[in-house]
Amino acid sequence: MNLRAVQAIYFSEMARTKRTIWQSIVSPVLSTSLYFVVFGAAIGSRITEIEGINYGAFIVPGLIMLTLLTQSTMNASFGIYFPRFTGTIYEILSAPVSGVEIAIGYVGAAATKSIILGLIILATSFLFVPLHVAHPLLMLSFLVLTSVTFSLLGFIIGIWADGFEKLQIIPLLIITPLTFLGGTFYSTSVLPPLWQKITLFNPVVYLISGFRWSFFEISDVSPSISIGMTLLFLVASLAVVWWIFRTGYKLKN
């Protein structure tokens, strides 16, 4: 394996984050902090506890997940799309670097950014709400798995997109609504029975539920199902990325 090439791509992407720190780190942290202020402190103080958990604390896993999903897809999609847009992808494709190595470099960097963001938001949330993480290792595992999976999805979007507009379509029109409807701000158990069933078709429900369980040991679906579904998304994304590099889809034409 050309580890130096992986390092080169990874650190180049991380350097881009550093160059755009206001957009990459500060802005998402600030937006999430505003959710804490509005939903946690202002509105949340008028909402009773949910399943024995303070409302401000209850929304923390969902808000972290919201940031992870949107930032992972956006960072990874932009990371691979920009070289395609400028034409610098030729250099990567002509270098002795395999598809796997390219994906590790870009997806690794995007996932690292998301993990850093998730941890900063978690640390910030301690400033606003009383919070306790029941299973820190499981919480970290969800954080890492979700970041990697959605960075892979972002990587796929970045290769599929042929314009900046397409880069935004999936994060804004699919992932964000699914996250809001997936129990970020509520437990799906409060929904009418029919909607509870429909909600189970929303993949984000499993991610938020499992992540929330690692904090409070409460969940909408069983934690083992959540882990299974997360791994399933990861495998599905890996399979698509593998197919892209095997066929050269949108890369070599």
């Binding site: 390092q7 180049s12 070289p83 610098t88």
Partner: protein
């Protein structure tokens, strides 16, 4: 190195050149990167973002990226387009040193004099088809001609019949006589032609010789093909 200037505009010169080295699996070597940047007169721009550079500088950055991983085969596609004369010389000096160090360089260029100066072997492409690949010296010998021009003391209206056998042509309205010959031939015919001129009483005040350049040969080959 591609002809198109494709670079990440927001990266610094140092970062983009180091990135290229890493992509090709080479360990970081700041001394080597510094050497390349200095040779290509980019050292004082190493911390500048690429978008702030001129077109010529961007092209040199592309060359620096291509050289960063110490390649054994280097493809240069129109490397000097848009580069000013002085810097072009510096660039060729770098390329020449690489060639002398054993690097195989495949250069495509419209500047034929550059190819003549640099190349060991020359290929000619016309209408997308390679019409010839030849050792440069052999090519010059095969297709190159030497021309002797005699500036006459008195203008000639027609070539005297006694000189008809000597492959001479009148030029410049009869003020000059032009003689084409092959220096590699067993008999160039120069001595016989000069004797014939003397016998015919034709005198000249000056003479000059000219060797066909690679460009002359190239133009001849391409026009022959078309």
């Amino acid at each position: 190195m591609p002809q198109e200037l494709t670079t990440d505009a927001f990266e610094t010169v140092w970062a983009t050149v180091s990135f290229s080295r890493g992509l090709f699996g080479k360990a970081p070597n700041p001394a080597h990167i510094e050497k390349i940047l200095r040779e290509l007169s980019l050292w004082d721009k190493k911390d500048n973002t690429i978008r702030t550079l001129s077109g010529g500088m961007k092209r040199r950055v592309m060359i620096a990226k291509a050289l960063s991983h110490e390649p054994q085969v280097l493809f240069l596609d129109e490397p000097t387009a848009g580069v000013d004369v002085e810097l072009r010389k510096d660039m060729w000096q770098v390329v020449r040193e690489l060639r002398d160090s054993g690097v195989t360089i495949i250069l495509t260029t419209h500047y034929i004099e550059e190819a003549e100066d640099m190349a060991d072997r020359v290929g000619v492409i016309s209408k997308g088809e390679i019409i010839l690949i030849e050792n440069k010296a052999e090519l010059m010998r095969k297709f190159g001609k030497k021309q002797l021009t005699l500036h006459l003391q008195k203008k000639l209206d027609v070539l005297p019949p006694a000189l008809a056998a000597h492959n001479l042509t009148l030029a410049d309205g009869g003020e000059e006589l032009v003689f084409n010959y092959d220096t590699k031939a067993e008999h160039t015919g120069v001595t016989a032609m000069l004797s014939a001129l003397s016998n015919a009483g034709i005198r000249f005040r000056d003479l000059q010789t000219k060797q066909s350049s690679l460009e002359d040969i190239f133009v001849g080959l391409v026009s022959q093909k078309s």
